[in-house]
Amino acid sequence: MNFRAADYLPWLVIGLLALFPLVESTFYMQLLTKVLIMAIFAMSLDLLVGYTGLVSFGHAAYFGLAGYALALMAPQYEAVSLWWSLPAAVGICALFALVTGVLVLRTRGIYFIMVTLAFAQMLFFIFHDTKIGGGSDGIYIYVKPTMKSGEVELANLEKIEHFYWLVLALMAATFLLLRRVLGSTFGRALVGIKVNEHRMRALGFPVFRYQLASFTLSGALAGIAGYLAAVQYGFVNPEILSWHQSGAVLMIVILGGMGTLYGSVIGAFAFVLLQEILSNQAWFGAAAKHWQLALGIFIMLVALYLPQGLAGLLRQSGRKAAAETTDE
């Protein structure tokens, strides 16, 4: 693969995805919307796990918080403007990430994993046990947010293809933003911290500040995904914050291949489709009810045998192909 192809490939994929609503039905468009939302969510986590070396097991906190923020900001039977509600939801997530970040970044390794999980659970119990967010029933979002410029409606999110395009645009924006950030001096420093935190400190980098910035950005981006998920489903309940959500997104990052960004997109495709297939009653009949068994075994196999994920597999076969051509 030459340099130019790698440069244009993301645009090509985004372009093809943008054409999708012209050829496909409602069901697959909704499924693909879900994939793209999970891709945003996974990329935000990859920034932490794959590039900063921080394994967070509580990333659902920021995803769910943005969903709840939208639900609580929106008047019950009226539309809220996306122009301010999305930035507000993302801002709340960034703020929460900043505050929790100050605490969790005092820990490392196993501690960090447990503490991030514990803070996500704290949020879960706040929404589950109190009436703030409708308790365990959650809140319905009856009307989708509006996107208007003056009196002109730029997009109608009640239409699934309009919503799909919005999600795709935000996914592309997240990808490009992260690629830019990771290529900057800031991004290089993050990877340096992942590889050798101690040495970075000895070289004069204020490691904590870099990690906190990364943690905050990651939480904010997860907020974009959570906001969109809440819009898509039309309701939020504590499940959106549950640790299964955190486990799923971590699985997507690993399955796709951490530290690659595009791997998160591949992983989201693979994971959402896998869930869809395993729980398909037409194919698996009564066994489909227990699809989580197959999913659990699949997750264990990935952990044991595919640590570099699908992106690693692609790279490997790419190297093999390259080796074969040079052999000739």
Partner: protein, 260 residues
């Protein structure tokens, strides 16, 4: 004490009564020493004498239990490692401590990057800063690694990795260098190259060097400090230290201690 090689002026770093305790164990006890620009100050002593702990206290890797560390007049005792590094103290590690998966250039580029105010600019390509690249290039050249720029650090020979360690130090443009056994594990040829490299740095740096290799010690030392059990046994010019009865008794006479 001797003032033979002092170039005059204030010491760049001065410790007073520096002490580090781990629980009941006193690793560094009441150490006072001065480091001057233009001098190589070598610290020797048997394993467990507290030499590496002393380095860690000066570099901020460990906070002292008590005592004073003044760098260019400011008390830096207990400051964080990154803060001390930014003030102008660079260090190398006894156990090679580099970014193994990165290229030699990227190792040095990261080090140089830490000196720039661009650090938190998130939208500019990292490779686009001419000043950082220049500093990284100069550091590589000074450490004799210019021809290895694009090699992955993990694939370098042990000696080259030690050189890279020094290059990274230099890229941070320190005024004081703390070298913790830079010759460890090196063959005679590589050692010779490293001694030359350190000699070349003496003119515009203050250097504290911990070393076991006695040939290198006497080739480099302007000032020599002997540590035993966390304490300074003797400090002065190499000649003074060599002729000190206490040192002869406790240290230089016992060949076997020297070589472990």
């Amino acid at each position: 004490m001797s003032e033979a090689v002092s170039l005059g002026g204030e010491p760049i770093l001065r410790t007073k009564g520096l002490t580090k305790q781990f629980g009941g164990l006193v690793a560094v006890s009441d150490v006072s020493l001065d480091l001057y620009v233009g001098e190589v100050h070598v610290v020797i002593g048997p394993n467990g004498a507290g030499k590496s702990t002393l380095t860690n206290l000066l570099s901020g890797d460990l906070p002292p239990t008590s005592g004073e560390v003044r760098f260019e007049g400011n008390d830096i005792a207990g400051c964080s490692a990154d803060h001390i590094s930014r003030l102008g103290i660079g260090r190398s590690y006894q156990k090679t401590n580099i970014f193994l998966p990165f290229t030699v250039f990227e190792n040095c580029r990261l080090a140089a990057q830490s000196r720039t105010p661009h650090a938190l600019r998130v939208f500019h390509r990292a490779g686009g800063y001419a000043e950082i690249n220049r500093l990284a290039g100069e550091a590589m050249a000074a450490a004799g690694l210019a021809h290895r720029a694009e090699r992955i650090a993990a694939t370098l020979s042990h000696g080259e990795q030690r050189q890279l360690e020094i290059a990274m130090c230099l890229a941070t443009q320190p005024r004081l260098l703390l070298f913790d056994e830079p010759l460890a594990g090196m063959g005679p040829h590589e050692s010779q190259r490293m001694v030359e490299l350190i000699k070349g740095l003496t003119a515009d740096h203050a250097i504290m060097l911990i070393e076991h290799d006695m040939d290198a010690v006497f080739a480099l030392a302007d000032r020599l400090t002997v540590m035993v059990n966390g304490e300074v046994l003797e400090s002065g010019t190499p000649e003074d230290v060599r002729s000190s009865p206490a040192v002869q008794l406790a240290y230089l006479g016992g060949e076997e201690i020297l070589h472990d």
